[in-house]
């Protein structure tokens, strides 16, 4: 049937808008009488503002106001008012609260003017006197101040130890005990954060905000500014990338709303690229992984400890070590996650938060263990394959990881690998093959959707979710079209609007499952209405059919047993005298059913690198990633999601690092020339395999979510390939060329096999 869209490689429904420049992002609504706000950022990390002199700025004709902590209009007093849907324990950052400086780059003034250029110029004239205090921004120096964080909602703390890990490790025949260091990273979506606040004639606000959740930003604005939900309409139809950076409201939202209310006119605030380095980041994290194994490779002890940075005002924690207890069969496991407070902004979830770091360390350590055991790294993983989740003794709802290994290895040609480091060559360069495993979590959250079917057979479905490039518009359109058997051109999905039924922020790979279930449910309600009407039609072919015996396809309703007899949906609408059918639905996960299982997508990643050992330069020639991610709604957009994750894995492995100058407590490479993300020339062959995986537990659609599994493990696979190529084990990311060539010089004595 032509309206079976689920599982089809449908091109993005928002594609035309994006390739023609018609898709409008938050900072692109040019309304009459718009004023422009430019943020002045703190030059120091800690202390107080002694004086701000804005007189030169205010002296310019066309400058409307310079807002600072001294003249900011009052907003809510209690911390609770600033807690957003994904806030972490602590006291959220409140712009312009007082004269205290909590991190370098903190917003300290907002200059609002008639034009963008004037505001920018005036902002440069604001003179600030600081009273600095000594700051601490080096995680390494705060090791002795580590503490166990308060639990964060939605992030389970590491489970208590099982067995006797320290003793088992001490008694193991083969041991690996290594520390891995990973740097701070910034999301750097291509679109800078921006908010356009439109001051409506009646004083209500229409707000276009770059966010991964319009309900979250909407609620924040209402709470902070004491507005009723009807006073604020918050929209975010297109988001130029998020990767987690837009989960929590960003300070430009606060500033733009504050200024619009203060000036009673429309205001836009857009951050500069430099300011994109002041809004939170993936935290620098130090990890210890100790693995003890028997000589046959059986894991006897697994210890994984992490220390991560957070701010002085919030305890941001992410699931770094949990995965180690779930991925392998091991009786003696100890997992620990600690924080240290620094004078930095609070870290923010960034693509596969926690798992990206944790699996890098775990899967690098597993590779080290494989060499020590003289065992194939793939064989080691199969040897310790967990058929159930040993961390909570639950069965997996589904786990096709073995099939990922099999299909990935076959596609990659893993069997042709020679085991010794430095044993494979191409011309004068060393070649290395490495692998790693990935794991993420599948979550389904409550979500709402509404739908309207018109007499003409046009369907509009909406939910206040987001499409940050993930393909939400497209897959929801597919689900809705297939559910009601309508041509996809007749279906419109709307999102990013606070007036639509509530949906969670788009993150955690849970949108497809959560919102998809709501869309399915609301369409099913329309189905039921149509069935009732259709059965009552004279000579209805469906008269005696049960609901489940009726199929919807090609704009028609028919018996599944005899599709040649049908009624068209338009006929049904006409017969029922219906100008439209409108429904809403709230989908709630079957928590009871799900709680009996451990639910995860998995992956096996294989990477090939070519290394110039003299210069240390690395080419990632191929990455094959085999994904067990449940049902694939759209192989085209799904592949893109995984490919994007792999490109992130390349960046993480080789390039990305936000460097703090400890003297200034400030990220210094705060631009896209010096914070390196992969460019086109860095990326060669990427091969994505979706392994068939059926899961009736996760949700009725069998979806596991794909936004994050693509990056998890990829960095380790590349690092492991570099070791195989060179014999150099770099345990601090990124693996830049200086670490490789210096290591290669030292590593040369390793046994050399004849050149391949």
């Amino acid at each position: 049937m032509t309206t079976n869209y689920i599982g089809q490689p449908i091109s993005r429904v928002d594609g035309r808008a994006k390739v023609t420049g018609q898709a409008k992002y938050a900072g692109e609504y040019n309304v009459p009488n718009l004023a422009y706000g430019v943020v002045v950022s703190s030059a120091i990390a800690k202390g107080r503002i002694a004086e701000i002199d804005a007189s030169a700025a205010l002296g310019l004709k066309g400058v409307l106001q310079v807002f600072t902590h001294k003249n900011a209009p009052p907003t809510a007093k209690s911390d609770q008012s600033y807690w957003d849907e994904v806030a972490v324990p602590g006291s959220p950052f409140r712009p312009f609260k007082d004269d205290k400086l909590l991190f370098s780059g903190q917003p300290i003034a907002l200059v609002v003017a008639e034009s963008f250029e004037l505001a920018r110029y005036a902002a440069s004239l604001v003179q600030v006197e600081y009273e600095p205090e000594a700051h601490a921004t080096d995680l390494n120096q705060q090791r002795d101040k580590a503490y166990k964080p308060k639990p964060r909602e939605g992030v389970a703390p590491p489970p208590p130890p099982r067995g006797n890990p320290d003793k088992a490790f001490a008694n193991s025949a083969v041991q690996i005990d290594a520390e891995y260091s990973v740097p701070a990273e910034h999301h750097n979506p291509m679109e800078p954060f921006a908010t356009t606040v439109i001051w409506e004639a009646d004083g209500r606000l229409t707000v276009y905000d770059k966010t991964q959740g319009t309900p979250n930003s909407h609620q924040y604005v209402c709470n902070v500014f004491g507005l009723s939900p009807d006073d604020v309409h918050l929209l975010s139809p297109y988001v130029g990338g998020g990767f987690g950076s837009g989960l929590r409201p960003k300070y430009q939202l606060f500033l733009a709303v504050m200024a619009a209310r203060g000036l009673k006119r429309s205001v836009r605030v857009t951050l500069t690229r430099q300011q994109m380095f002041t809004i939170g980041h993936r935290p620098r994290t130090l990890q210890r992984v100790a693995l003890g194994a028997a000589k046959d490779g059986k894991l006897e002890a697994l210890i994984h400890e992490a220390l991560a940075e957070t701010s002085q005002f919030e305890e941001y924690s992410e699931p770094v070590v949990q995965w180690s207890g779930e991925l392998y069969k091991c009786e003696n496991v100890k997992l620990d996650h600690a924080l240290a407070n620094l004078d930095i902004n609070t870290p923010v979830d960034m693509r596969a938060p926690g798992a990206t770091w944790g699996l890098y360390a775990l899967e690098s350590a597993m590779d080290e263990l494989a060499y020590k055991l003289n065992m194939d790294p793939l064989e080691l993983r199969l040897k310790n394959y967990a058929e159930k989740d040993f961390s909570n003794n639950k069965p997996f709802s589904s786990k096709e990881l073995k099939e990922c290994f099999r299909q990935g290895a076959e596609r990659f040609g893993w069997s042709k690998r020679t085991p010794e480091p430095r044993s494979m060559r191409d011309g004068g360069k060393l070649v290395g093959w490495g692998l790693a495993t990935g794991i993420w979590e599948t979550t389904q959250l409550p979500a709402g959707a509404k739908a309207v079917l018109t007499a003409e057979g046009k369907l509009t479905v909406g939910s206040a979710t987001a499409d940050i490039g993930t393909g939400t518009y497209t897959i929801m359109t597919q689900i809705a079209a297939e559910s009601l058997g309508l041509p996809i051109e007749d279906v419109t999905f709307t999102l990013g609007d606070s007036t639509l039924p509530r949906a969670p922020v788009e993150g955690g790979s849970f949108t497809a499952a959560s919102v998809g279930s709501a869309v399915k449910q609301v369409c099913d309600k329309i189905r039921e209405k149509l069935v009732t009407v259709a059965k009552a039609m004279p000579k209805s072919p469906l008269a005696n059919a049960k609901s489940e015996e009726i199929a919807f396809a090609d704009g028609r309703m028919m018996l599944t047993s005899g599709p040649s007899r049908y009624v068209s949906i338009k006929e049904v609408m006409r017969h029922g005298g219906l100008s439209s059918i409108a429904e809403t639905a709230d989908s709630t996960p079957d928590f009871e059913k799900q709680s009996k299982y451990s639910i995860h997508p998995h992956s096996a990643i294989f990477a090939e690198v070519k290394v110039d050992e003299d210069l240390g330069t690395i080419d990632v020639l191929r990455v094959v990633s085999a994904i067990a991610g449940g049902r694939i709604l759209n192989p085209k957009t799904a592949r893109s999601q995984i490919m994007g994750g792999i490109v992130w894995g390349i960046g993480m492995a080789l390039e990305e690092e936000s460097v703090i100058d400890q003297k200034f407590g400030r990220f210094m490479n705060h631009n896209l020339a010096e914070y390196h993300v992969p460019v086109n020339a860095d990326v060669q062959n990427i091969d994505v395999i979706f392994v068939e995986e059926h899961d009736s537990i996760v949700n009725p659609l069998g979806i596991k979510g794909l936004g994050e599994i693509g990056i998890v493990g990829t960095g380790a696979a590349i690092g492991n390939a570099i070791f195989h190529a060179t014999g150099v084990r770099v345990r601090d990311l990124p693996i830049t060329l200086d670490k490789v060539f210096a290591g290669a010089a030292a590593a040369r004595p390793v046994k050399l096999a004849p050149a391949a």
């Binding site: 200034f664 460019v679 060329l737």
Partner: protein
Amino acid sequence: MNNFSYTRATDITSAVNEASREATAKFIAGGTNLIDLMKENVARPTRLIDINRVPLNRIEETKDGGLRLGALVTNADTAYNDQVEKRYPLLSRAILSGASAQLRNMATDGGNLLQRTRCYYFYDVATPCNKREPGTGCSAIEGFNRMHAVLGTSDQCIAVHPSDMCVALAALEAVVRVTGKNGDRAIPFSDFHRLPGDTPQIDTNLEADEIITSIDLPPKGFADHHAYLKVRDRHSYAFALVSVAAALEMDGNKIKGTRLALGGVAHKPWRSKEAEELLNGKAANSDNFQAVAETVMHGAKGFGHNTFKIDLAKRAIVRALKHAAQMEAPR
């Protein structure tokens, strides 16, 4: 960005006159570096003199058989010019390894010589920098200095010149022709850029009212034996950690003449005549090239994050010389 006045010059004389009237005026051509710096409040000219319509946009032969690159020819037009590709392929390679296609379409040859350092501290007005604000101190020396210089540094400044093109021009011994209130001058390339010394705020020996009119390439282009090797943190669109322009004159396996210039290691493209002369009359082999590398980097000093550049530069020199001598194919 400050407010400024804008003047459009259509000939050299009026451009120079405009500049000499206002000490804080600046010429603008491609704009790829100046506008960048103005947006960061690092450059704050009171007037921009747009010289894009001044007729300096041709590439033509010089009387001595060399090639004259008009100061306003774009980097892209230079790199893809038939004569440059054929006679000075080293220059083409160097240009094409820098920036992006878009920037090369905008940036001019004269402007390329005048681009300023990419030092993080120079660019960030929240931090002290002797180059930006003389006397405030150098933040890089004890700070984050991965990109910084290991040769020719001073206790005032360890910035590097970011250009790729200039590294090739140094090796080719180009001549920079300039004109100003006091008439025309021809500046040998090695004298054009300065070391930081006690005046790191001054990058070049160009006077404030002087304008570059052309860059003249001598007849010798080293088309047969040359290499440009750029080592950087990603495969494209990144500044050099170390780059090497190598050019050889060969007689069989014997070397008759050597030109070697380094980028990414100093405040200016780095030449070592002493090292180059080592190869005269010698065979092209790894040992001889290694000796050159050691001599070039003799006295180099690292500052922590950038110390690896000393070793890397040696490796890159050997590799580039091997490529130039065609001992191995460039990869």
